[in-house]
């Protein structure tokens, strides 16, 4: 393994040599102490010179020990090396002042001012490279910043007077402060979040080293791989004309606690004419994040003027068995509650305001919410989100945000058979009727009774997501259409994200302010099939309620939906 582009054994040798040199320096420079503390030196100049030498010696030894520590921490990426170092140096005697790694099997992430001071002498680009490649070093820097080190919040407020190099250095040395600093420029936040990711990688590697075989270990392995991708990987955007743009990952926010939060920018935010913020739906967590990123990458690739921000900056409702169990409020049940959207909305509104400030003047902003993300966007509108365009994509609901809240033009897109329609605009008030409607006719009375019971037993004020965005006056409904060159309609809850369809182009058009193709609802007809039992190879199976398309204008090969400007 050559993580540092240095053979691990060679680095181990350098660490060993440096430790030995520390010991040697302590011994050979000992006369400085005896002379300074003896009575032989007389005269103010000589005494001052001896005192200066003593101070220089102390500083020098501190730097050497910090270097040993830095080398040892860098070695953490090499599995097993640290344990050999521990065995080799555990018997080294005082007064060298053994670094703590020599007696520990894992590195405690505690503030180490001497080490951080040593790192502060590096050029920012070197510091960036070192911290990204040495997660244990990053953990020490994060611990130092968490301890309230200097150069944090005050520097963020004064950032406008700082040059790019100073900004980068401060962000790297004070990652906790700068990663979430709303006033900080994106480049500084990207750098700070890289250090946070590296520190989290260190923690994951430590846990992985002692994790027993099984699912937990496999999950840790995936977490390690994901963080390495964020640190060492890149996002490649391939345009339709063969252009290729490649950037390292740009995380505006990272928090591994709980299900985890992440906000990533695809494209050049600082040069963007259009900024699109995408909020995914139920089950969005760090584990599923790569799938969301993959959905958004083609949009970012389609237009170099477009920066797409994947926003998972809050805790989303879980999907079933995410934590190995099916608690009472999982999946459809948890997703029915609006509390997560209520918490996420203010954070989204604030982040969009930051993005607007970070983008060039005049850049337009589109905020898109898919499924539960639609409810998050609705909540953000209630909490002051300002955007040029808002798009509800297979949205759970508007959270009763006014259709022109924040001055935005609101669009909505729902595939004709999207099961989200089973949830749109429903809450506990209409539970008896709704449950009866989706049940087999013979069981409708029992289903209605169940609905009545739910309405009586479940606290209802947090259930449901307000109006169906497709039906709110003033909202422009977008056609999901069909896939190019086929007669296959775009279907389901997430089919709109597959490139090469009417729906996908409509989404891109809302992001870039191009004309959109609008839905003609009067030319469509669908009906709801309730729960039923169907024979599958002679085996009876339950078929959940689903929508069936009875009529579509796309059955006419010449059909073209009407267009209208989106900007």
């Amino acid at each position: 393994m050559r993580v540092l582009e240095v053979d691990g054994h060679q680095l181990e040798r350098l660490a060993s040599t440096t430790l030995a040199l520390t010991r040697r320096l302590e011994l050979v420079s000992a006369p400085v102490l005896t002379v300074a503390h003896g009575a032989e030196v007389t005269g103010p100049a000589a005494v001052a010179a001896a005192g200066a030498a003593v101070r220089r010696r102390a500083a020098c030894l501190a730097r050497l020990r910090a270097l040993v520590r830095a080398l040892a921490l860098a070695l953490h990426v090499y599995a097993g090396v640290e344990q050999r170092l521990t065995a080799a140096f555990a018997n080294v005697r005082e007064p060298v002042g053994l670094p703590t790694w020599a007696t520990a099997t894992t590195v405690p992430a505690v503030p180490e001012p001497a080490l951080v001071e040593l790192l502060a002498g590096l050029r920012p680009c070197d510091l960036d490279a070192l911290l990204v490649s040495s997660p244990a070093l990053a953990a020490v820097v994060v611990a130092a910043d968490s301890g309230g080190a200097r150069g944090g919040a005050g520097a963020v407020e004064r950032y406008r007077s700082l040059g790019p190099e100073q900004l980068l250095r401060l962000a790297l040395l004070h990652p906790v402060t700068w990663a979430s600093a709303r006033a900080a420029p994106p480049a500084a936040r990207y750098a700070a979040n890289r250090v946070l990711v590296a520190a989290d990688l260190d923690a994951a590697l430590t846990r992985l080293a002692s994790a027993p075989a099984g699912e937990a270990r496999a999950r840790l392995g995936r977490a390690v791989a994901q963080r390495r991708e964020w640190l060492h990987g890149s996002v490649t955007l391939r345009g339709a004309q063969g252009s290729v743009r490649r950037r390292r990952h740009q995380l505006l926010h990272f928090d591994p606690r709980g299900d985890g939060e992440v906000v990533e920018v695809l494209g050049a935010l600082g040069r963007a004419r259009h900024v699109a913020v995408f909020v995914p739906g139920t089950g969005s967590d760090l584990r599923r994040y790569p799938g969301t990123l993959a959905r958004m990458r083609p949009f970012a690739a389609a237009d170099p003027r477009l920066a797409v921000v994947v926003w998972q900056g809050a805790d989303f409702p879980d999907q079933p068995f995410d934590d190995g169990v099916l608690p009472a409020r999982e999946h459809v049940v948890a997703a029915a509650y609006r509390d997560a959207a209520d918490r996420a909305g203010p954070a989204l509104a604030a982040d969009v305001a930051d993005l607007r400030r970070a983008a060039p003047p005049g850049a337009d902003v589109t905020v898109l919410g898919h499924s539960y993300g639609g409810a998050v966007v609705g909540s953000a509108l209630v909490h002051g989100l300002t955007a040029d365009r808002v798009v509800h994509v297979s949205s759970a609901g508007t959270e009763d945000a006014p259709s022109r809240a924040g001055g935005a033009q609101v669009f909505s897109m729902t595939a004709p058979d999207d099961p989200i329609q089973l949830a749109q605009a429903h809450d506990l008030d209409d539970a008896p009727q709704h449950l009866a409607r989706i049940s087999p006719p013979a069981l409708a009375p029992e289903a209605a009774a169940l609905g009545l019971a739910l309405r009586a037993l479940v606290p209802g004020e947090q259930v449901g997501h307000g109006a169906d965005p497709d039906l709110v006056p003033g909202v422009v409904r977008l056609d999901t259409g069909r896939f190019d060159g086929t007669d296959r309609l775009v279907r389901g809850h997430s089919g709109v994200f597959t490139p090469g369809s009417t729906a996908w182009r409509n989404l891109l058009a809302t992001m870039t302010g191009e004309p959109v193709q609008v839905l003609e609802p009067e030319r469509w007809r669908t009906h709801l099939e309730p729960w039923s039992v169907q024979l599958d190879d002679g085996v009876p199976r339950l078929r959940p309620p689903h929508y069936v398309v009875d009529r579509t204008p796309w059955s006419d090969p010449r059909y073209r939906p009407p267009q209208r400007p989106s900007g």
Partner: protein, 71 residues
């Protein structure tokens, strides 16, 4: 200012210490050269080593200055 007896025993000890300290700085630099730190992170590590070696050389100079009684 009193004249400093640069041939006194303590001054000789300090000069010897300065020479030994310089050897430490040289060996540290040589150790890093032997490893051949490469790549962006390796270069950063090389800068750290260079920085510390410079500090060690500064200690040697401080020893020499103390031996001569000048600050």
């Amino acid at each position: 200012m009193q004249p400093v007896p640069t041939t006194s025993a303590w001054a000789v000890r300090l000069r010897a210490a300065a020479a030994d300290v310089r050897d430490v700085a040289r060996d540290l630099t040589r150790a890093a050269d032997d490893v051949g730190l490469r790549g962006p992170a390796g270069e950063a590590m090389q800068h750290l080593v260079d920085d510390v070696a410079a500090q060690v050389r500064a200690l040697a100079e401080a020893c020499d200055r103390a031996a001569e009684g000048r600050s």
